[in-house]
């Protein structure tokens, strides 16, 4: 398959991002919430903060990071869209 390297790199990147996605929400916000709640973050208990604030900020960073990294991956593998490309229908 001609773009095998591209697709595999994409899958690796997606898997890494989803691991972080899972860790901050289901991990820090739900599974380990009681443990993390022992740690204060200002007036927040850390587990509670992840559940109501932190996870959302990490989600945001993840999407922008993925978009940026994929843009580079597209170029490295020469599959980026051309500037003038206008799709017909």
């Amino acid at each position: 398959m001609k773009d095998g390297g591209y697709w595999r790199a994409n899958l690796r990147l997606v898997a890494g991002c989803l691991a972080v996605w899972f860790l901050v929400s289901f991990g820090c916000g739900i599974l380990f919430v009681d443990l993390l709640n022992e740690i204060p973050l200002g007036g927040f208990r850390l587990g509670f903060w992840f559940a109501q604030q932190g996870s959302i900020y990490v989600f945001l960073v993840l999407i922008f990071f993925y978009a940026w990294r994929m843009g580079r991956l597209d170029q490295e593998h020469g599959v980026e869209e051309l500037a003038e490309e206008q799709e017909e229908d």
Binding site: W21, G29, L31, G42, L60, F64, A67, D74
Partner: protein, 579 residues
Amino acid sequence: MDLTTLTYLVVGASFALYIGIAFWSKAQGTGDFYVAGKHVHPVANGMATAADWMSAASFISMAGLIAFLGYDGSVYLMGWTGGYVLLALLLAPYLRKFGKYTVPEFIGERYYSRTARVVAVICLIIISFTYVAGQMRGVGIVFSRFLGVDITTGLLVGMGIVFFYAVLGGMKGITYTQVAQYCVLIFAYTVPAVFVSLQVTGVAIPQIAFGSTVADGGAWLLTTLDGIVTDLGFPAYTDGTKSGIDVFFITLALMIGTAGLPHVVVRFFTVPRVRDARISAGYALLFIAILYTTAPGVGAIARLNLTTTMQTGPVGAADGNLVYEERPQWFRTWEETGLLSFTDHNADGRIQYYNDANPEFAARAAEYGWKGNELTVDRDIIVLANPEIAGLPNWVVALVAAGGIAAALSTAAGLLLVISAAISHDIAKGVLTPNISEKRELLTGRISAGVAVLMAGYLGYDPPGFVAQVVAFAFGIAAASLFPAILLGIFSRRVNREGAIAGMLVGLVFTVSYIVYFKFGVDAATGNNPASWLFGISPEGIGALGAMLNLAVAWSVSALTARPPEDVRELVERIRTPR
């Protein structure tokens, strides 16, 4: 100028703006009507997605929901934002590369089957209609609360506006009105939030304020809040009462469901390029997060405000409770609407607000001479009364009304559009009359949008008892039916027609039956509880299990049946690369 006049003016001005935009962005052809000609800038698409996504419930009810649920409310915060990560990484760029108009169209082509397409249309219509009925109801409620007109009149006006720009402008009209609606709603949401935060904590940013100290006492706000609510017999604010597994599954179902909601997915068909689809999901989440990270701050601050307003001194002290005659002005205002009500059970003229469902505390309360909780609070008041509690001028109150209406209208329009596109593009053109001309297809689209508005209006006017209860389950159904089919369609070359159809049907039937059984089949008071749920998963979270079933069935059935044809495998290869 009095509040009602001002509210009419502000709401009227926002309507004029939406109608103006609809004229300017009239759809010229089916491309405009379904996907706004694929010319939407990713930032504009992000805003439109945010408005599309944030419904009347997000705007009016969510902060209140969190205020009274505390930690348990986190399922909505994480669930309704985490889904955008799935959307950005797993679906949006590939569907954009596919480059057609609707979600069922993708499913139909990828699984080389009209049946699959029709099954997808059925899922889409069930999801979208349950969701849209709640929105139309929301429009009516906002009108009646702020403008004093009855719900039916409010509903008719709302239908008229949506009819106008959805039918005329299609996706193009909806997109640009949604951008305007986002600006209205986010401004209306954050301004009162900032002022309330300032008043209570001295910190202007709600996201930081609820982790700061209370302005006068010096103690941490959340610690103070945990203290006072537990003193009154409520569970601690920062601790949950739901089981861990249920919180896990509800969050997962909301995330997967969000990524599978057709009216959200289709927004990413409207941007020019694949990389715009990726970044646009980021902008969408950014604009959504502004509201979603503000809401828990508003919730915690308002809960503290409400509790300390009623409980002015130590719990149990004779003069520890607010004298009813001395209640603040906002209390009087919202009492008239029925959102707050007071019944003086022990006839002492003071307001006792506590958790009388907690037997241990109820016994102690009886020793104080309290005879039951005397204050009933509708959760919507947390957002609606915010500007008055903060002492903000009337124009801010008027703006909150316009914001609530914008939130409801934008979501309703997005839903109506996917319904009409499914009917005119997937059913009329895709199945019934494939040779239909573009002009006639556009006309069919407009007519079905019109019919959908009427039906949604009727559902909002006279909601069958179940509608209000099942709106939240639209997510479960989306999670269990559409999401897995799209995901496998992109990430597997092996999953075939038989597998996808079997998977969607199993996911849909399983999830709907579970919800119907626990919501309507058993006695709600005794039968619908953790002990009788499968693995302790509530109906709200069952969609996640439905999605897993769908995936498992699709895999197994595909493994036992023939591989997809060569051209379908090529289609999968093609959507995986941007060029």
